[in-house]
């Protein structure tokens, strides 16, 4: 009906039945807000987790030498596998899918600045290690580089918490000297605060990093504690792992099928395992929201049935005036869509408000802050539209099927 009459009637009814319209619309408002907020939480949680996984490193695999459990080529089982620095180059050379690799040395050391001394985990690594492990420096600093490595420079990169412990707040340590095991080290950078939900040998913010070449001269270690490498494609990580067993197995004479010979932590695995969980969780939250919305839709449909009943005579009059079934249905459906659209509109703003307000509670660190994605909004609009349509359709059909003579007597 190309006329404002429909809207007039709608607003007439709204005025006459304030409470009823309010309650009906509230159902939709609540349903919309609940759907969007729940899904936004699912999103936020996922993003939060992903960020934390990436805190440890991206496409990262960590390898420790193990103890052989199978005899191999006349050699007994129970032999330790201990890496050397050459293994890094060998792995990169023989397995093209390994994009970066670094040995990792570790030891304890006393670290002093001024009158403050802390005892810390000291990690000796290659510059690539920082890239793989997402060691992003704060502005003004840098991670270790090739020159540091080649010249065994006494430079040090501080974990965020160590900086705070040694320097306190407000002092930029970059360019200052700290003493490590009695030797002065130049601070080249400080780790930017990062989230991390998994670790080995402690959080990255509580460690300090020096070139592995420097580490070896100071500590006298000849074998790295472990190695890390990055794979080109996380989906092919398992195949790369098998290659690593093969290559190192050849060098250290162990059976490539000997799972005890190397301990491998493939972080691609962990994220991959979590992903379906979060996807499922998000869908689960979405379904709960949608059911809330459907309940709101049922409320709307009920009200539309009441509206049809109240307007029975009017529908009869319109039929007598020559209104077709389509005319009668159109009005009821448009009204139902109006209710859901208005409810959806307010519901969306409540959800949006929630999205903005939630971070103020500072709970994001634990559960992540809700994120309303465009997809969520798009799907919500589609669902609200369908619910409005369905909630209007059945009452509208009842209206259109009224017998005009009976309707006029109502």
């Amino acid at each position: 009906m190309k006329s404002l009459v429909i809207f007039k009637q709608f607003f007439h009814d709204v005025r006459r039945q304030k409470l009823r319209t309010l309650l009906t619309t509230f159902g939709i408002i609540w349903g919309t807000a609940a759907t969007i907020i729940l899904v936004a939480f699912g999103n936020g949680l996922y993003i939060h987790q992903e960020k934390q996984f990436l805190g440890l490193g991206e496409r990262l695999v960590i390898v420790w030498g193990g103890k052989t459990a199978l005899p191999y080529k006349g050699l007994p089982k129970g032999r330790w596998v201990r890496f050397t620095d050459d293994d890094i180059d060998m792995l990169k050379r023989e397995i093209p899918e390994i994009t970066m690799a670094s040995p990792e040395y570790a030891g304890m050391g006393m670290l002093t600045y001024g009158k403050k001394t802390v005892s810390q985990n000291v990690i000796g690594v290659k510059p690539e290690w920082g890239a793989v492990r997402n060691m992003i420096p704060e502005a003004g600093g840098r991670f270790l580089d090739e020159i540091d490595l080649d010249y065994r420079k006494r430079v040090i990169f501080l974990g965020t918490d160590i900086r705070t412990d040694l320097f306190g707040e407000g002092i930029d340590p970059v360019g200052k000297y700290v003493t490590l095991r009695g030797t002065p080290f130049l601070v080249v950078g400080v780790l930017k605060q990062k989230d991390q939900n998994s670790s080995y040998r402690g959080r990255d913010t509580r460690k300090v990093y020096i070139p592995y070449t420097t580490f070896k001269t100071m500590w006298g270690h000849t074998h790295p504690e472990n190695m890390i490498y990055q794979v080109a494609d996380p989906a092919r990580s398992k195949r790369v792992e098998a290659e690593v067993f093969k290559v190192l197995g050849r060098k250290y004479s162990f059976d490539p099928k000997d799972e005890q010979a190397l301990w491998i932590w493939d972080t691609n695995d962990s994220l991959g395992e979590w992903r379906p969980f979060f996807e499922g969780f998000r869908i689960f939250l979405g379904i709960i929201g949608v059911f809330t919305l459907i309940v709101g839709g049922i409320g709307t449909a009920n009200i539309m049935y009441v509206v049809v009943k109240e307007r029975t005579r009017e529908i009869g009059v319109k039929m007598a005036m020559g209104a077709t079934r389509a005319h009668i249905m159109f009005q009821i459906i448009v009204e139902s869509l109006l209710i859901t659209a208005i409810g959806g509109f307010f519901g969306f703003f409540i959800a949006k408000f929630f999205e903005k307000a939630f971070p103020l509670l500072k709970l994001g660190e634990y559960v992540g802050d809700p994120v309303i994605s465009p997809n969520t909004v798009f799907v919500a609009i589609a669902i609200i539209g369908s619910i409005g349509l369905i909630a209007g359709f059945f009452p509208a059909r009842r209206a259109a099927r009224l017998n005009p003579v009976e309707a006029l007597k109502a």
Partner: protein, 241 residues
């Protein structure tokens, strides 16, 4: 085609209402022809079948048996859509209690049949104002029905009935809720419309009104009991000829 040029032609029309096991014979075989330009009153006691007859005439209801031709076309074969279209274009209904939409203005009420007919906005505006002028309500276009008197409301209803220039006006006790002066004005309007060639059929209890029509049809127990022509003095008794 068997209408003999009549606008309305009914042959042995019956209507049975079934409510559960109770059957009510509302019409028991009505033969009736109404020509173009006739002005007809239908009278009879309550429950005699007047309204049923009018509903069938207006294509709001279908006969149980019998033939009904409207403007030469058999109504029985029509689909729902076609019936809507006939009610919209060929018939103008007027009710005892006006049945105007309370929330809409006089203008919008009259506009309704034009909207259902799918007429463009500019035409609707012009046509609504024409109709309102015809019934003397041009100055009341933007008023709500509640702001009108009973007589004015019924005149608005007449304007609405005229919007699509129907062949026939069907009025069900149009003066029943009006004082005699307002009622008289409505009948004056009907006479004017009739003089311009439009057929008018009205149900009434008021013999003063009935006597202003060309023909009075008396219904009794679902049958036409008698027919009387005014003016030319022709009287005849017809029960199912």
């Amino acid at each position: 085609m068997n209408n003999n040029g009549h606008l309305i032609s009914m042959k042995n029309v019956t209507k049975v209402y079934k409510t559960g096991k109770i059957h009510v014979d509302a019409l028991r075989g009505v033969d009736l022809d109404i020509g173009r330009g006739e002005f007809v009153a239908i009278i009879g006691p309550s429950g005699s079948g007047k309204s049923t007859l009018m509903n069938i005439m207006g294509c709001l209801d279908m006969p149980t048996t019998g033939e009904y031709h409207l403007d030469g076309r058999p109504v029985a074969n029509m689909g729902i859509h076609q019936l809507s279209s006939i009610r919209n274009k060929k018939i103008g209904f007027i009710f005892q209690n006006f049945n105007l939409l309370a929330y809409a203005t006089t203008f919008e009420n009259v506009e309704l049949p034009l909207i259902f007919a799918g007429k463009p906005g500019a035409y609707r505006k012009q046509r609504v104002m024409e109709c309102l002028e015809n019934v003397g309500l041009a100055n009341w276009a933007e008023h709500k029905p509640t702001e009108l008197s009973g007589g004015q409301m019924q005149r608005a209803a007449v304007a609405r009935a005229l919007a699509n220039e129907p062949d026939i006006i069907l009025a069900d006790e149009p003066t029943g809720n009006l004082d005699s002066k307002s009622g008289g004005e409505i009948i004056d309007l009907f006479e004017q419309l009739n003089e311009l060639g439009r057929s008018v059929v009205t149900i009434t209890h008021d013999m003063n009104i009935a006597h202003r029509c060309h023909r009075i049809i008396r219904i009794m127990d679902g049958l036409i009991e008698s027919e009387k022509h005014n003016g030319n003095g022709r009287d005849k008794n017809l029960t199912q000829d």
